[in-house]
Amino acid sequence: MKLKYLVTLLFALLLGTQLLTAGTVSGKVAGAGAGTVVWVDDPSAKAEPPSKPLVMDQKGLLFVPHLLVVPVGSTVEFLNSDNVQHNVFWTGIGGNKKLGHNLGTWPKGEKRSFKFDNPGVVSLLCNVHPEMSAYIIVVPSSLHATTDANGEYTIQNVSDGAHTVTVWREGMKQQSKQVNVSGATKADFTLSK
């Protein structure tokens, strides 16, 4: 019986320690409004892919949505809702050209799936309609956020320590910086083209 209480006490202490060391990273991204993606590269944080595949649709000669943020390991279904054929390909992931892939071409109503096992920015293209464009941001964990209309963001449950915070916005240069997280930590960015 004593052993049972002892274990419970130890577990509570461990949990408390963990909660005490989990911080928050927040800040403002200047030069951008809503829709800027921010993520923290925290090795201790786990990615939690959704149980159901996310959907990237092609409708009216547009990718819908234009921006999709998914944890690494997620599966995305690429659907064609148009009455014309579409193609989906990307030339690399996170700048790694070796991860480029072409899913092929398919007609209305059909879809193709792909599991993203590597983090990074995926620039989606359709070689039938070169004007079509969308992005999938494969983030390394669930520690990510999207800025609000004021360009502000908050990411919770970041463990204390030195982490890399990365900011991405379409048309802007991606930025990363080392941030020593300790409780509520501020990390502001200024994006440029």
Binding site: G60, L61, Q85, N87, G104, T105, V128, P130, E131
Partner: protein, 541 residues
């Protein structure tokens, strides 16, 4: 003689340097917010989707409204149809003015023989100077197209600067096309369309919207009979050719991107080349209602010409999944099917010539001869992925009706003021043959390699050249058969900007004619070629 020399230079310059028209439609890009390459391989050459878009009346073949980023403006609620005939049938106009513009500019280099024609100028006259290299402005064109609802499509294009600085423009095509009117008669879908206005005939391969810088020789071939003394003369002066637009109506059916396709057009006859503005009467009203001519008349005779075309495209696509789609699916995006298209075309008309003559009693009258003529040919097109080889062969035939005097003797040609014909008899027909074969290979999505061979065989052109006549379709040809080889390459700098290069190995010509001491007939010697290299920059927006 001076006028003759000037005409020679004008004809030569037009023949060598006159660029063909070509159009892409940025207005559609704006409305659908899609790239030119959705419909074009190397603008203005259409891919299969572009052909389907055109067939459908400048609409997406299905679900058009879902693709339009700028909705059409309704000219009546769709429910108004229920009230018809007590209301106007509801239509629509494009939500944004579908106007597009096009400009091109050229740089050309002409071979060293360009100065040879100076010898034709009379002694004491300074011949025109033709430079070795030259920058020249091309055409600035405006064009608009779209759909008015109820499957009524429209197209208008006009070359604003065709006559040079501050010059008058020239209308290209301007028509309304009633797509699928066969539904009124419960005919199968797409089996009957109606087009009215001014349009390029439904040629196997378009001249007006060709990717080439220079036109196809066979399309610009008129039929001018031989009139050189010493040879069998022909009274044929038919300026009709396929390069120009026609005014009339056309019915058509089927699809250009697969299966059967036919068209039948009834168009104005104008073989004398008279301009519409010049063909007027102060006593007869024209369509504008003006008492003294209005816009004038486009015909020069009562007869209407008839053009027919039929083709069938065999789908050789091996990918079963996409054989029935507009385009085949590939790992790198849709591509045109593998296909073989075979077709035939014909044109029938009457070349009308009028002369001052007399009747059998010697009373002055206007003599009219209506010489039937026809053009007939066949064409093919084979496509494998990004490689396309196509061509056509054409035969031209003009009945030759020779003027005779009251004694039944042939009156020497050309007829002069003192000639006194009283009638006509059949002579040897004036015929010609020719065609072209072209290969287009899309090496990369932005680079098209082209090889083309044009050939025209016209004995009468060569004979007229011996008299150094400048009124023939090709000036002073050395041989009856004129071969031209034209390699080219085109680069899409952007989807709407193109740089084109073309080198023309042109047919031989001659300006030196001697008399054969044995036959006593003239014979051309010292042939030469005026090869040219042309670079074009073209942009549409």
């Amino acid at each position: 003689m001076r006028i003759k020399s000037q005409a020679l230079w004008i004809v030569m310059l037009l023949a060598v340097f006159c660029p063909v028209l070509s159009h892409g439609i940025p207005a559609f890009s704006r409305q659908y917010q899609t790239s030119c390459t959705t419909c074009h391989l190397d603008f203005p050459k259409l891919n299969d989707f572009g052909k389907a878009f055109k067939d459908a009346g400048f609409k997406f073949p299905s679900d058009d409204a879902s693709f339009l980023k700028i909705p059409q403006v309704m000219l009546g609620a769709p429910a108004q149809k229920e009230l018809f005939p007590h209301t106007i049938w509801p239509g629509a106009i494009p939500g944004a003015l579908p106007v597009s513009l096009r400009m091109n500019t050229f740089f050309q280099k002409t071979g060293g023989n360009r100065g040879n024609f100076g010898s034709l100028v009379p002694a004491g006259t300074v011949p025109p100077f033709i430079p070795k290299t030259d920058f020249s402005a091309g055409l600035f064109s405006i064009f608009t197209a779209g759909n008015f609802g109820s499957d009524i499509a429209f197209w208008v294009d006009d070359d604003i600067s065709i006559a040079g600085q501050n010059g008058n423009g020239g209308l290209g095509d301007g028509y309304l096309r009633f797509v699928n009117v066969g539904r009124i008669f419960k005919l199968p879908t797409d089996s009957l369309h109606l087009r009215a206005g001014r349009f390029e005939l439904d040629l196997p391969f378009t001249q007006a919207r060709s990717i080439n810088i220079s036109p196809y020789d066979i399309y610009t071939q008129s039929n001018i009979g031989a009139v050189t003394t010493g040879f069998a003369q022909q009274n044929v002066n038919n300026l009709f050719n396929f390069a120009g637009g026609s005014n009339g109506v056309e019915i058509s059916g089927g699809h250009m991107y697969g299966g059967y396709h036919y068209s039948l057009a009834i168009v104005d006859q104008n073989t004398s080349g008279v301009g519409q503005g010049a063909n007027t009467s102060p006593f007869v009203p024209s369509p504008t209602g003006g008492s003294n001519g209005g816009v004038g008349f486009a015909s020069d005779a009562n007869f209407k010409d008839l053009y027919t075309r039929f083709s069938y495209r065999f789908n050789l696509e091996r990918d079963k999944a996409s054989r029935n789609a507009v385009q085949a699916a590939g790992a790198t995006g849709p591509r045109d099917h593998t296909y073989l298209n075979l077709g035939t075309f014909s044109f029938y008309g009457r070349s009308v010539q009028r002369f001052s003559g007399t009747d059998l009693s010697g009373t002055p009258i206007v003599l009219t001869t209506r010489e039937p003529f026809y053009r007939a040919g066949a064409d093919f097109s084979f496509n494998y992925r990004t490689f396309n080889i196509y061509g056509l062969f054409m035969y031209g035939h003009d009945t030759n009706q020779l003027p005779v005097d009251i004694t039944g003797t042939l009156v020497p040609l050309p007829l002069g003021p003192t000639s006194a014909p009283v009638g006509f008899i059949h002579g040897t027909p004036a015929t010609f043959t020719g065609g072209f074969i072209q290969t287009d290979y899309l090496v990369l999505p932005w680079m098209m390699a082209i090889m083309r061979w044009d050939a025209v065989n016209s004995g009468q052109d060569r004979i007229n050249g011996l008299a150094q006549s400048t009124s023939t379709p090709f000036v002073l040809p050395f041989r009856s058969t004129r071969n031209r080889f034209t390699p080219g390459v085109q680069f899409l700098i952007h989807a709407n900007i193109k740089a084109s290069f073309e080198y023309q190995f042109r047919p031989q010509q001659s300006v030196t004619v001697i008399t054969n001491p044995i036959t006593g007939l003239p014979v051309a010697v010292q042939p030469f070629r005026t090869n040219t290299a042309v670079t074009a920059l073209e942009w549409v927006f």
